[in-house]
Amino acid sequence: MKKTIRFKLNGEPRDLEVERDRMLLWVLRTDFKLTGTKFGCGEGFCGACTVLVNNEPVRSCQFPVADIDNKEVITIEGLVGNNGKLHPLQAAFVEHDALQCGFCTSGMILTAYGLLLKNPSPTRKDIIEGMDENLCRCGAHTRIIQAIQSAAQNMRGGLKR
């Protein structure tokens, strides 16, 4: 059954005709060519495909696209401001060298973003708990925590996008 869904993608209104079960990951990567959202494990275990739906981090490989109807989706491409300026989280990941191969990075940043929206002043323990379901194989964890701490500091007093 064909159905048109409407949603906001990185701030822009979009609509999409959906006639079967599709996962958000492949819609983003294929229909919208937003390949910053990665396929890592296909079963929701690794977090490389994390995006925000109404400011909640979700595993896009497990998230039916029909469920974004009337919602707002943010991907890594949408974090950069209109002026081209990096989001404080992105800037902090760069400054802290919080990545190596970079394949988990989009999911890490969006999970951290979701965390900071809920808790703008997380403790180290809060960050570890909030990030624990995101996997990184290169072992950048230490610096990812530092980056999130420093971004949180920079973002306090209101989140800017």
């Binding site: 191969c101 990030m131 925590i145």
Partner: protein, 715 residues
Amino acid sequence: MKKEEYQAMDFYDIARALPLSRREFIKLTGGGIVILFAIGEPSLLEAQRQRGQPLPDDFNAFLRIGEDGRVSCFTGKIEMGQGVITSLAMMLADELEVPLDSVDMVMGDTDVCPWDAGTWGSMSTRFFGPPLRAAAAEARMVLIELGAEYLQTSPSELTVEAGVIYNKSQRQKKVSYAQLAQGKKILRRLEKEKVLEKPSDFTIVGTPVLRRDAVDKVTGRAKYAGDLREPGMLYARILRPPAHDAKLISVDTSGAKTIEGTSIVQDGDMIAVLHQDRELADQALKKINAQWEKPEAKVDDKTIFDHLLNVAPPGETVSEGGNLVDGEKASKTIIEKTYLNAYVAHAPIETHAALAKVEGGKATIWAATQSPFGIKEEVASALGLPAKDVHVMTPFVGGGFGGKGTNHQAAEAAKLAKMAGRPVQVTLSRAEEFFYDTFRPAAVVKIKAGVTATGTISLWDYGVYFAGERGSQHFYDIPHHRTTAYSSGWRGQPGSHPFGTGPWRAPANNTNTFARESQVDILAAAAEMDPLEFRLKNLKDARMIRVLKAAAEKFAWTPAEAPSGRGYGIACGIDSGTYVAHMCEVEVDRKTGHVQVKRVICAQDMGLSINPEGAKIQMEGCITMGLGYALTEGIHFKGGEILDLNFDTYEIPRFSWLPQIETVLIDDRNAAPQGGGEPAIICMGGVIANAIFDAIGVRVFELPMTPERIKQALG
């Protein structure tokens, strides 16, 4: 061939030389000033020659100063997170005296980069660095000569700053590299030793520099092989067996055909579904009904060690000295132990992926690989094309760790693209990634060692089965010793492993260091000595003594005989020319067997550190990744059937495992730079095993040291 050479040569069976001819090359480079140079460890190149393989007879890397003043370095090396895109550019910028941001690294493109064996073995900096610097020095000399002509003065009157040549006494007389390169086509080959900058003159090397690829990676702009699209591209899913060596009995693809837009292609044993929508390709694959005959499972993850000992080939002596009989006589206590480790997966977050386009008798491949030139040859052979008609490009690689030297997905994509007449992408599912991984081999180490009444190691008889020899030679001062390798290299022989094995970050050395450093601790306990004091007493190697002392100082180690109850561990080792010493603190839950590593200190002596920040990041990465093989990672299998197919059962390190990590770099600016991507991982099994013993007084002899094994050891 010497043993060390043989080990590194193990990589070469997948990547043979296919040098670009000089004529083809010159066509490609265009204008500017080009310096050709050769890289590679001389002994490796010599060994390859002895194996009858062709070599790049001329050069295998080059740099170009373009007419726009930009400096490009062309190399077959690839960037997979280890940071060479930054460290190589730093060396080049420093030697050529140009700003770092004017340097472009062109990596892993087989049409424009000269042949390279592959990116592994912590070799990029060690073996690429010196000739790259020499080439840059040559380029600087050519530019200064041109500058002298232009400014009508002698080269000795000139100085260079940030890509601009100045007359030392009249600074208004100046000319930029870009101006000098205009309209020029100068080709030089690096012939002789160049006068390099002294380490004290470095302005970029040795300073902390942030990753050059970071902005692309935090914005999602960085492209990996699976992110690339070609018009008309189809996604392929390939029918895979349920177990290695399973035979296809019958197959019914009619179900797959019910999904509109699916095409099914078959080439010999390979059956694939193609669809422009990846999810529909997945669904179509599930609708293929295949019957397989699985061979009888003869081994599993419990019986594998007996099997390996049974099928082990005769041992080869790696090193020996003194006389073992005398060693036994001199020993007050002799201890024999056996150490085991499981198969371990590479498990990069990016699975193997490739996009192939075959048009007009030419193939273009974009692949996630550590070996673009290996793929070039594999694809040429799969398609029956001359190698010159295969062009391989390497976008960013999402982690390799040794596992992306094997790349069957590229030839698969190429064959499918040829059959379909459209570009085809093959991106492995996570289950395929586990199934086709070339695991770090399961291995056994048997050690018989003795210690005198005064705490001197008097006997060391060491045998390693199937891990490989790297790191098997001890570095302690032991009069009577022998090291034997049963099955050299990490691939095993036919019949030894039920599936593929291969190099895994610091191959062999993780296994060997775990065994050696556990045994040394056992000897220390037998001698009733503090494990650090015991090591220092039995060492003469000044570099090892220095890193141990540096680690101890940072850790604030205080002497105590183990088990002290504190949960402190120590281990040290050598890999890729680099010395490392680790200390850690663990907490063991006796009820659950859970181990929490609370703190890890690593001191590393890697000679001159090109990018100290990059080196520390690699050390932290090694320590974090190493927690996995130490504590949880081990493939479960039954014959050729792999039972761990995703991260639910195969547990890799997480944020909650993270210890406090402190790294100490012993920067020796006058020593040659050594490897940095692997050494700090080798001690993680040993240092944690020793800390567990110190905490609870029992020792685990098998990696990974899972809660079950710890509870079992506690009895």
